[in-house]
């Protein structure tokens, strides 16, 4: 049954904090970094005023934040941490520890460009650099989705078939510092959606176990096990999304969302908040008769391979918007999409739009131009395969 919740006007950072208060972790350990700071400050306020009963560990660095979370998770605590950009990279050493130990820590990452050049605004190079860390990665379009995904993240990560940490990504400033009306789920109903966390995967005096062990002879088998379990995650994400939708009235389509893809010749694949801008462009271009659609990639790990193949089989051209670049190759999302499409007998035309690096604006006009180019390559025209969008200078493509 659908339970209506209270609506409040908050920013993306505050939506994270409200979600954390609702799921009530035992332990929060975090170090502030722009643009995540407001989230951890609010959580700290909640612990101080008693509305969130948790241990808040004020650590001295991100490496310590993740290490403390790892320690808490190792004794079976529900744990939360949050970071951004350089902070995420500083945590990087501990990320495979957490995923290998199969501790379902949930982390917010405020997507922010990596230095240098120093930048505070959003792109996706921070989290995409950690695709291979063994964490589940989801990208949110707005503050409401962020709140819902922090909650769902605990349900998915703590599922005994999953037991894998999850990173919830939202674009720095564009989402973290923008205010919108956000509906909070009813707390009592939430209790039945997300039961208390309990696990056998912990240090326990009554059932002694060595955790984080050195398994030189079995390293490969532990990794196989991790990969096999990760393959089940997709169906659990979908089941969680459906159940959340039934209870709270919002569901997001699972691994991806297809927007106006029926009968589309050209689709754009987007990650995060730029999806919102692309929706508006699709609406107006559809009303003008252009056959365009939008694929919102929600999860990067596990990667929605089957869904991408299905879309690839029905369109003529696919464009990938990458707010990142793997220097020396191409956009990271593009590489992943291409590898899925290579399973098709007839691969659609593909263009890679490198956009929004360091927070560079991606406007409706830019997205419209991407669609126009895709419609042209769909008709057989040649275009530069990898393009920088809204750059201040010319370049030799």
């Amino acid at each position: 049954m659908r339970m209506a919740g209270r609506k409040i006007f908050i920013s993306g950072d505050e939506a994270v904090a409200e979600a954390v208060r609702l799921v009530s972790p035992h332990v929060i350990s975090a170090y502030p970094i722009t643009p995540q700071t407001v989230a951890v400050e609010r959580i700290s306020d909640f612990v101080e005023d008693g509305s969130l009963q948790a241990e808040y560990i004020h650590v001295e660095s991100e490496h310590s934040a993740m290490s403390a979370a790892l320690g808490a998770a190792a004794v079976g605590a529900r744990t939360f941490t949050a970071t951004s950009s350089q902070g995420l990279l500083y945590m990087a050493e501990v990320l495979p520890y957490v995923s290998g130990a199969r501790f379902p820590i949930v982390m917010m990452n405020a997507n922010r460009a990596l230095a240098v050049p120093w930048a505070l605004l959003s792109d996706h190079r921070d989290s995409l650099s950690q695709l291979d860390s063994g964490w589940i990665q989801v990208y949110c379009e707005d503050a409401q989705e962020t709140l819902d995904m922090i909650i769902q993240a605990y349900r998915v990560a703590e599922d005994e078939r999953v037991m894998t940490p999850m990173m919830v990504n939202l674009d720095g400033f564009v989402l973290t510092h923008t205010y919108e009306l956000v509906e909070l789920p009813d707390q009592a109903a939430l209790k039945s959606f997300l039961p208390d966390y309990s696990t056998d995967n912990k240090m326990d005096l009554d059932v002694p176990k060595s955790v984080c062990l050195a398994a030189m002879n079995h390293y490969m088998e532990y990794m196989m096990k991790q990969e096999l379990d990760m393959r089940n995650v997709e169906s659990i994400i979908e089941e969680t999304d459906r159940e959340y939708g039934d209870m709270f009235g919002r569901s997001y389509g699972g691994m991806i969302e297809q927007y106006m893809c029926d009968g589309a010749d050209a689709v754009l694949v987007t990650l995060g908040s730029v999806t919102g801008t692309a929706r508006v462009v699709v609406d107006s271009m559809r009303s003008e008769g252009y056959k365009v659609g939008l694929v919102k990639l929600r999860f990067m790990r596990p990667f929605p391979k089957a869904e991408i193949i299905e879309i690839g089989s029905k369109v003529k051209a696919i464009g990938v918007v990458d707010k990142d670049i793997s220097v020396g190759y191409e956009g990271i999302v593009f590489t992943n999409v291409n590898s899925a499409l290579s399973d098709l007998d007839r691969v659609p035309q593909r263009l890679n739009f490198i956009a929004g690096l360091g927070g560079r604006n991606v406007s409706k006009a830019h997205i419209r131009d991407m669609y126009m180019q895709l419609l042209e390559v769909a008709e057989g025209k040649e275009k530069e395969k990898i393009q920088f969008v809204n750059a201040r200078c010319e370049y030799n493509g």
Binding site: G100, A101, R102, F103, E160, M163, N201, P208, K209, S210, V211, C212, L213, A215, H218, E221, Y222, M224, K225, L228, D229
Partner: protein, 104 residues
């Protein structure tokens, strides 16, 4: 000396049979180590109040509490000194290997 029973290790046949996470049922060394101690812990039985703190913290389960008094299994003690550090009444001394009980 009451050593834990040795259980035969059965290698999993399928990846699915591995435990979730790099965990394993806790165990102890079963082969006598090759003398890697520099200092050996010695319990002063007159001072010991049998609080079992050392028994709890010894990382190698080398302290035995099955008898009347606590006994250290020197075949497995690695000489880390955790027990001596944690004993609240100073009943454990660390004595240089090769020296006598008084450290000479």
């Amino acid at each position: 000396m009451d050593r834990p029973k040795v259980v035969k290790y059965k290698e999993p046949e399928r990846a699915e049979d591995y435990p979730v996470g790099a965990t394993f049922k806790a165990g102890h060394l079963v082969q006598t180590n090759s003398g890697w101690r520099t200092f050996r812990p010695i319990i002063d039985q007159d001072k010991c109040i049998k609080c079992l703190r050392c028994f709890l913290v010894c990382p190698d389960g080398a302290i035995d509490k099955s008898g009347e008094s606590l006994e250290i299994d020197y075949d497995f003690c690695k000489g880390c000194g955790v027990c001596a550090h944690e004993c609240k009444v100073g009943a454990i001394r660390m004595v240089k290997e090769g020296a006598d009980e008084d450290g000479r």
